[in-house]
Each structure stands twice: as structure tokens, then as C-alpha cells.
């Protein structure tokens, strides 16, 4: 007997969930709001900690998903999740025996931190912009010059009450280290400074990569948050911070300022939470039933979660959760028979 399971969101978590379901003989329907699957990874260049091209990971996953025969529908945004299934923004209702929510996260809008001048000064970029520049193989200043001095600022839109984001986005520290190394490889004579509040290297090999950035690539780490950025007459960016480890103010001018933007809860979360079985954490990420044995479960027996919809996670963690969620769906369906 073939059950129908709807997977909401076609990022890596949704793709892996659909794939794992299909491998178990359960017929999934993957719904993705944009015109293509892959989620945020479609915008990344190389992945920490191994510098594996994101396209390689996505390519492999897409090929396996295709072979599995799982049904994928793009341009299909889910508005509501109810007991019977889901409702799309165009009004269509789709029935399902179970739903796995994999709608991911949103990128923090750096314009909200106006003091850093994103969208105002041409040489202020976000980490996502930098990934796009790496992908286009064109990392140059707005004037088309090779940058000789670059600053990366950690915690932009994370751990910051002023923008209503108290949580730590987890992946931006290691992204900052990874991007600093990539920039140094591209421009070996450039001076690169990472401005951090805490360095959070949570994954295997991350701490080692941080040390490599310091020792082998000579990347400078300054503990202190940039308080403001301003533009010089030649469109460079002047930044001010406190070098908190020596207790003195610090200022410098850079050719490029990269803002390591955080992960924001997905904008669909609020609408999904109109269903009383879907709870939100104070951060507005979706709150799983618990953090241990039911970390992919909602308050309803047939709604499950996987990936960054519940909290900031890296690729490996998101994929693992997808497999766990598929496993839970299978358990639920067989218990019901």
C-alpha cells in the first residue's frame, strides 16, 4: 500500500527526506516554493570544513532523488499545514497521511544593521554576496580592483537584541574562517581581519581550520565588534572597533567589509504555527517536541521536522535529521496499519 507523505521545502533537508522516504517504499511529494530545489546551497560556492563544492553535494543528492522516483513540484508554496495535509498559496489543498516540514531558514537582512552601511556603501558585502562572487569567479571591489585589505565581521544579525535575534546562528563563525582562507588563497598578499565576539567552532575539524587560518594563512583575529562603518572619499570603508583584548579602540580602512549574516527563522513558520500542533520557540524557529528522543517530532503524531526549520544547523546535521524524520514517518505509518 502506498502512503502519501508531503515534504514541505526542497532544500537539502527536504531532498534527503523525500529520498529516504522513497527508499523505504513510501511515496513522497516534495513541494518547493521557488522554481528550483536545493535551497540555500544553490548559492554557496565551497562548503566548510572540506571545501567541497556545494554543486557536488547538490548534484549527487539531486541525481539520487531523481532515480528514486520521488515526485517533486516546484513553484508550490505551502501556506497552511492541517490535519489532512497542506494548503498551497494558490488555494489548492493536498491530502497526505503525514507531513514533514523542511522549510529551512531565511538570511538576515543586513540593511537592518544600518551602521554597517550595507546597501549604502558599495564595498560592504554579506557572506552570501561573497559566495556568489566566488561562484562567478570575480572577487573584486566595486571599482573592479583587487582587494588588499579585507575585514569580516562576525555575528551580524545574531546575538543582537537590537534586531530581535538573540540566538547564535552557529555556522557564521566557521563560514568567516572558511571565507577568510578562500580570500587569502585568492590574494596571498592581502591583509585579512576577522572581528569576532566569541569564536564558536562546533563541528569536527572546525577548530583545526580556525588554527590553520591563524597559523598557516596569517589571518588576524581581533576580538571586538565593529561599532560603525563609514565611507572614505575613495569608496573604501573605515571601521571602528575596540580591540577588547588590549582594551583600546581600534580603527582601520579596508577595501571590502564582509558581514557574516546570521540565520533567521523562516518566514513561513508563523503561518504554520496557526496549527496548534506546531509550536514556535522564543526565537521563532519551530520548536520540536523535545531536544532528545523527539527532536524531529511536532505535537501531532503525523507532522515531523527536519533541517534548519527548527534551529541553525550545518549540512551534515540537516541531512541526518532528514533521515531520522523519514524513519519516524515510516514508524508512524506502519503503526497505523
Amino acid at each position: 500500500m502506498s502512503h502519501k507523505v508531503i515534504v514541505v521545502g526542497g532544500g537539502i533537508a527536504g531532498m534527503q527526506t523525500a529520498l529516504s522516504l522513497a527508499e523505504r517504499g513510501i511515496q513522497p511529494l516534495l513541494l518547493e516554493k521557488s522554481e528550483r530545489i536545493g535551497g540555500k546551497l544553490t548559492g554557496w560556492h565551497q562548503l566548510f570544513p572540506s571545501f567541497t563544492p556545494a554543486s557536488e553535494v547538490l548534484g549527487d543528492l539531486s541525481a539520487r532523488l531523481k532515480d528514486s522516483g520521488a515526485e517533486v513540484r516546484t513553484n508550490s508554496e505551502v501556506r497552511k499545514i492541517d490535519k489532512q495535509g497542506v494548503e498551497l498559496t494558490d488555494g489548492t489543498s493536498l491530502e497526505a497521511d503525514a507531513v514533514v516540514v523542511c522549510s529551512g531558514f531565511d538570511l538576515f537582512n543586513a540593511r537592518l544593521k544600518e551602521e554597517y552601511g550595507y546597501g549604502i556603501y558599495p564595498n560592504v558585502y554579506t557572506s552570501a554576496d561573497l559566495e556568489a562572487m566566488f561562484n562567478e569567479n570575480r572577487v573584486l571591489t566595486a571599482e573592479g580592483k583587487k582587494p588588499q585589505r579585507i575585514a569580516l565581521l562576525h555575528c551580524v544579525g545574531s546575538r543582537d537584541e537590537k534586531v530581535g535575534q538573540r540566538h547564535c546562528s552557529r555556522v557564521c563563525c566557521i563560514t568567516g574562517v572558511k571565507q577568510a582562507i578562500e580570500l587569502k588563497k585568492l590574494y596571498p598578499t592581502a591583509d585579512i581581519y576577522n572581528f569576532y565576539m566569541d569564536i564558536r567552532m562546533f563541528g569536527p575539524g572546525y577548530e583545526e581550520m580556525y588554527r590553520q587560518a591563524q597559523q598557516e594563512y596569517g589571518i588576524h583575529f581581533v576580538r571586538g565588534r565593529i561599532s560603525e562603518a563609514s565611507e572614505t572619499i575613495d569608496h573604501r570603508v573605515q571601521i571602528k572597533a575596540e580591540d577588547t583584548l588590549v582594551g583600546r579602540p581600534l580603527k582601520m580602512t579596508v577595501d571590502m567589509l564582509i558581514l557574516l549574516i546570521g540565520m533567521k527563522p523562516g518566514e513561513s513558520n508563523r503561518r504554520f504555527a496557526e496549527n496548534s500542533a506546531i509550536k514556535l520557540a522564543p526565537s521563532n524557529f519551530v520548536q520540536p517536541h523535545d531536544s532528545f528522543l523527539h527532536n524531529v517530532c511536532s505535537e501531532a503524531p503525523n507532522i515531523f521536522y527536519a533541517g534548519t526549520v527548527t534551529a541553525p544547523k550545518n549540512v551534515g546535521e540537516s541531512l541526518n535529521e532528514a533521515i531520522t524524520a523519514a524513519d519516524r514517518v515510516a514508524q508512524y505509518l506502519s503503526a497505523r496499519q
Binding site: 581581519y193 569564536i199 588554527r211 591563524q214 597559523q215 596569517g218 588590549v246 581600534l250 582601520m252
Partner: protein, 109 residues
């Protein structure tokens, strides 16, 4: 001269546009592991000299790495080269060697 009680303060900011990083880079070239310092303060906590004087080894070498050399040589003279700091550094930095290197590079600064 009459002292009015007013004076002009020198700017306190570390200005990385003005600082000459040449010596800092030379030091780091000879001892790249110094850049791997995680500012844990173990060296300063255990330092024989630091417990008796205002000498703060971690702070001085951090300033040197920013190109702030003024007074660093004199500060490093407070070190007694006992090597205790090297026993505790979690990053395995030859901290005692750092003292000698900074003194050697900044001797006539």
C-alpha cells in the same frame, strides 16, 4: 612655565592605517604559531613576573602583533625567562621564545 592643568591627549586608538606592520610581520614569519594565540591568558596567569609587576605578556605580544611597538621592549625586559608560560600555553606557542624574538626585533625600536 605656568601649568594650567590642561594638556592635549594623544589619540588612544590603535590606527591600523598608520601602524607599520613590518616588524610584526617579521616576527610572525619567524614564529607563525604566535598568530594561533587564543588569548586564554594562561601565560599571564602563571607568569612569575606578572604576579609581581604590571607585566602582562599576553597583552604586550597582542599589541606588538597590531604594530604597537612602543614600550614593548621595556615591558619584555621584565620577563625573567623562567619558561613557566611555555609549560601552560594550550596552543603550544614557544612563549619564552616570543619574548626573546620581540626583544631581538624591537631592540632598537
Amino acid at each position: 612655565m605656568i601649568q594650567w592643568g590642561f594638556n592635549i591627549n594623544q589619540p588612544r586608538a590603535i590606527n591600523l592605517d598608520k601602524n607599520d606592520r613590518l616588524v610584526a610581520d617579521r616576527i610572525l614569519e619567524q614564529m607563525p604559531e604566535l598568530e594561533a594565540c587564543i588569548a586564554c591568558g594562561s601565560c599571564t596567569a602563571t607568569c612569575t613576573a606578572g604576579n609581581l609587576t604590571s607585566f602582562n605578556f599576553r597583552k604586550v605580544h597582542t599589541l606588538v602583533r597590531r604594530g604597537e611597538y612602543k614600550g614593548a621592549y621595556e615591558e619584555m625586559n621584565k620577563c625573567m625567562l623562567c619558561g613557566k608560560c611555555r609549560l601552560v600555553c594550550p596552543r603550544g606557542i614557544n612563549t619564552r621564545g616570543v619574548v626573546l624574538l620581540i626583544k631581538q626585533e624591537l631592540g632598537d625600536y
